[in-house]
Symmetry: C2
Subunit: 461 residues, 2 copies
């Protein structure tokens, strides 16, 4: 796809130099997302210059879409005084994210200034900032349309007309009683289908799906995706309506969770920014930690091999098969682990299913092991290492996937059972565990099938 | 979260036996998604019995949400005659998926029957079935609201009222000219904000984001998530409006793509159904293929080690470090690979950025390598393997992550360049490649730093 911002960059730069008054007309034609993208491509002075030419309301919709780094730079360039009116026009959830993303002192100064410019906007930030960023409370917005119960459909539609400019979503109308207690929801579609004189109470649904403010964002996203909700209300105690989560935030959560999953499976601490927006040293930290943990845990393979040093010294050929065997264990183990971890995340698999999982994975490990053993034994025979090796490798190749599948599937369930998120890099750990177990199995099998060969080559006592 | 369907299952079973006429009242209170879930839990006779008691329109909204297996079973139980009116009431895209998911002959029979019951519904299926399932054409629906240009806002709202019961989305209105050519889009919000006498032409936006029918579903999802679109029109040649993709389908695509990514990274061919809905032998096939490919490619580690057999026979201790070294190469390589693959998927990284990526990854490999080497050398010294080993392992531990990072980052870019999807299991391949390269580097470094030790133990020629 052509990147719009890159395409218009030269023209924007030329207008900035020669005729800034023409910018407004050009910018009206372009989606806010592309304008935000454009601001990221310009240097900070140019970007600040563009924001200055815009009305606060227009600047706000672009500002919402800038990444944290650019937002911070713009706050620095334009100053708290100019940013406060822009922040006041931003959606409540985006305004909160902006203030939370700024360095502590700057954020506090901006909030203080906001209290003077628009006390209501400041109060919204204080209400939303209470919740962690990755919870329902951190995702929700307070820019929704709430109406009392005693209106007619025509009156509600009139209310929506007034609210449409401000609200983040007008497609669901929330019916509230005293203390903002949620009584029901009506979709704009329901309202359009009803007769204008109908009572709101007859049109609304009372049986509403809701979440609490501390629900994890991944669960929110899964619920909305499953039930096809465009918006989901967040309720506090006494069914008090705290805010609404809209589908656009959920699409972002799903994209972000996908990136995090991919990174975690590869043993990288999840990064918040894109590849080129993450600094060199952040990557070193995010990658180095796991790489070091895995490196140190792999020391155990050295310890295990050392334990069999006399056998290896007697038959050096045994060591030629170690990488093949342990990588097979690692591969089968991480297959099982990721199937189960993903099953847990999507809700297909529950911890209580462990017996069913164990039976399945044991069976799969056995079948996969027999397949690999057949091919493996053939290869050993072709290498001409003798019948003792053929059987050693054959037996080990049945045992290792069997172990990989059972350990790989049970460990995530066990972690979940004791309250640890199994997606947090359990896959590479499982690989290490199976590496060590694989070595132990291999040399024990070898000591059976190759007993005479080993005895022959052992130095006399 | 409590699973609604499980909670109500006993009550539904009791009503089915004792008083089926009461079922309707209970079912009205429950979300279609939970009813679909419930039907999956019941046995096929019970599920068919419930569908029979419902009006075609109500049965359709549940039927849309059943998985393919249950749909097929219900078609078998109820017969083509009873299913056709239900299918006619389903959303056009879901109706198409149903017919495509059935065994060929059954699907054709149903379509034929549909042509008699509701020729328009059959024609929609024929129009949608042309496009692959994972393309924009496969995602879109034809149930949208299209209006001609010469209406006033009040007239458009009147049209929406009539269409609301049928259309999948009423929140965007598509303005079309002759031959369904797309002229513009107006959101329902825009229409509510405008005065009823305004001309549609003044309210609509002409600058509309669109995709072609063959656009990949992942690109569609990314575009909609990026720009926060609730719906995206699909245009054919001459800007002819073919259909509309709605946000709920995109949320499903994002969830599905996440599952596929996780599975691919673990070397499992993506499965379409959940863990327990995938049969034993499907898993054996999906896992076995990759496991076998990786197993056979790992034979090269054996070949590489065999090449250094005289060195290993002379100093068996060298083999103790092989698993540690190759797992480090694999880990650093798969870190880089997944960062780049994800960057390519999200659009952060382009193939043309390869030089920038190479510089970054070379730098990171070097720093990470130096970190690991420091710890590794300390461990070797503690194991008491002597200064020759300390330097051999130290140098190898700088070289291996350097190689892992550069190969791991460049290979996905190369694959993308030649038109292969790098997400398709390139990570485990990279691990195998780096395993072999790691062995070669290690023994060559050893032959330098341990030359005298090796010479000492080599058997006389």
């Amino acid at each position: 796809m052509l990147r719009m911002a890159v395409a218009i960059l030269p023209e924007v730069r030329q207008l900035l130099r020669e005729d800034p008054s023409q910018l407004g007309a050009l910018m009206e034609e372009i989606h806010d997302e592309d304008l935000a993208d454009l601001l990221g491509l310009l240097d900070e002075n140019e970007a600040a210059q563009i924001l200055r030419t815009l009305k606060a309301k227009d600047a706000a919709t672009i500002f919402e879409r800038l990444d944290e780094g650019t937002q911070e730079a713009m706050v620095e360039h334009l100053g708290i005084e100019s940013i406060a009116p822009i922040a006041a026009e931003m959606a409540a959830d985006e305004r909160t994210d902006l203030i939370e993303g700024l360095p502590d002192q700057v954020g506090e100064d901006l909030l203080e200034r906001l209290e003077k410019v628009d006390p209501e906007a400041a109060a919204e930030v204080e209400a939303l900032a209470r919740w962690p960023e990755d919870s329902a409370g951190g995702l929700m917005t307070t820019d929704y349309v709430a109406v009392p119960l005693d209106l007619t459909v025509a009156e509600v539609i009139q209310r929506i007309r007034t609210a449409a400019a401000e609200a983040e979503t007008v497609y669901y109308i929330y019916v509230v009683g005293t203390s903002n207690r949620l009584l029901g929801v009506a979709s704009l579609r329901d309202l359009l289908l009803a007769s204008p004189d109908d009572k709101l109470g007859e049109v609304m649904t009372e049986n509403v799906f809701t979440v609490g403010p501390d629900t994890d964002q991944e669960e929110v996203a899964r619920t909305m995706a499953k039930y096809d909700f465009a918006a989901l209300p967040v309720l506090g105690s006494d069914r008090k309506l705290l805010g609404v989560i809209t589908f656009d935030d959920v699409m972002d959560v799903l994209t972000q969770e996908q990136t995090e999953d991919v990174q975690r499976f590869a043993g990288v601490e999840p990064t918040e920014e894109g590849y080129f927006n993450t600094t060199f040293w952040t990557f070193i930290r995010k990658r180095g930690t796991w790489l070091m943990v895995l490196f140190i845990s792999e020391f155990f393979t050295g310890t295990a091999l050392r334990h069999y040093s006399s056998v290896i010294e007697a038959v050096a050929k045994l060591s030629f098969y170690v990488p093949l065997l342990i990588s097979t264990g690692g591969n089968s183990g991480s297959q099982s682990a990721s199937l189960i971890i993903r099953g847990l995340a999507v809700g297909d698999v529950k911890v209580t299913d462990w017996r069913k999982v164990l039976v399945r994975e044991f069976g799969q490990g056995l079948v996969l092991g027999l397949m690999l053993a057949t091919v493996g034994m053939l290869r050993v025979w072709m290498w001409g290492d003798g019948i003792g090796f053929v059987f050693t490798i054959g037996f080990t190749l049945v045992a290792i996937p069997l172990m990989g599948c059972t350990v790989g599937s049970m460990l995530p369930l066990l972690l979940r059972r004791v309250g640890i998120d199994p997606a947090t890099s359990s896959t590479p750990f499982i690989a290490t565990l199976i590496d060590v177990l694989g070595i132990v199995v291999y040399f024990n099998v070898a000591q059976i099938f190759l007993a005479h060969v080993i005895a022959e080559h052992l130095p006399p006592h």
